[in-house]
Amino acid sequence: MGDNLDSGFDLRFGRAGWFCLLDEETGETSFYENDSAEASHGAGTRAVEKLMELGATKVISGDFGPKAKELLEKFKIQMVVLSDDSRSIADIIDSIK
């Protein structure tokens, strides 16, 4: 829900304001703004396209819409659903390491 590590974790996928990209080898993070967060339709699909561009192999979100789910399955990107929303991005990254 923001562009730094202390930001809260947005439970929405396609309509999340920002995506945090984590390099699992170096532990580096970078933030990308989601241009289609406010789009009237196709936000999930465009978010998947963005992830493909960034070369992500895993996605963590609160939930995935039907279209995003189908695409992510097709492109063999691993989906992770975290249903508790209270943690910040930094906490989630800490638990991955």
């Binding site: 039907p66 789910k69 399955e73 691993q78 989906m79 249903s83 638990s95 991955i96």
Partner: protein, 135 residues
């Protein structure tokens, strides 16, 4: 601690995130959460015209449990219609008929695509995971 709920098998999640009433004269009200398994129960019983027994076998629960899920689904839909509330589809206690898993340690739910071989939780790296399908 109460007994954990058996996950209800859902073949396909609903193709919508929600339904909204329009032209209603009262302001916004809290939405009704329709669980995936409730949607599935309505679909099997009232759209595919299955008996409760057949439907319960498909969802991997007992007939009585199916009847309860179905009852709850009908009541929620009735509530939404009468009280002009929005319906939202929520994951609930469903297990999707794909390769989905749940981590026993951190309760993250995730899928393992064919190109991955490790059977580990992507979050906490624990190998204490269970398939949502087997339950």
């Amino acid at each position: 601690m109460p007994r954990r709920k058996t996950l209800r098998r859902v073949v396909a999640p609903p193709g919508f995130r929600g339904y909204k009433p329009y032209g209603n004269q009262y302001g916004r009200k809290k939405h009704v959460d329709l669980l995936y398994e409730e949607y599935e129960a309505i679909k099997l019983a009232d759209y595919d015209f299955m008996t409760h027994l057949e439907a319960s076998k498909l969802m991997g629960v007992s007939r009585a449990t199916f009847a309860r899920v179905y009852e709850s689904a009908r009541r929620k839909i009735a509530k939404a219609l009468v009280e002009t509330r929005e319906i939202k589809s929520v994951f609930g206690n469903a297990s999707l008929d794909h390769s989905w898993f749940e981590c026993i340690e951190c309760h993250a739910r995730f899928n393992i695509p064919d190109n991955r071989t490790e059977q580990k939780c992507p979050i906490c790296k624990s190998d204490h995971i269970q398939s949502l399908k087997d339950q």
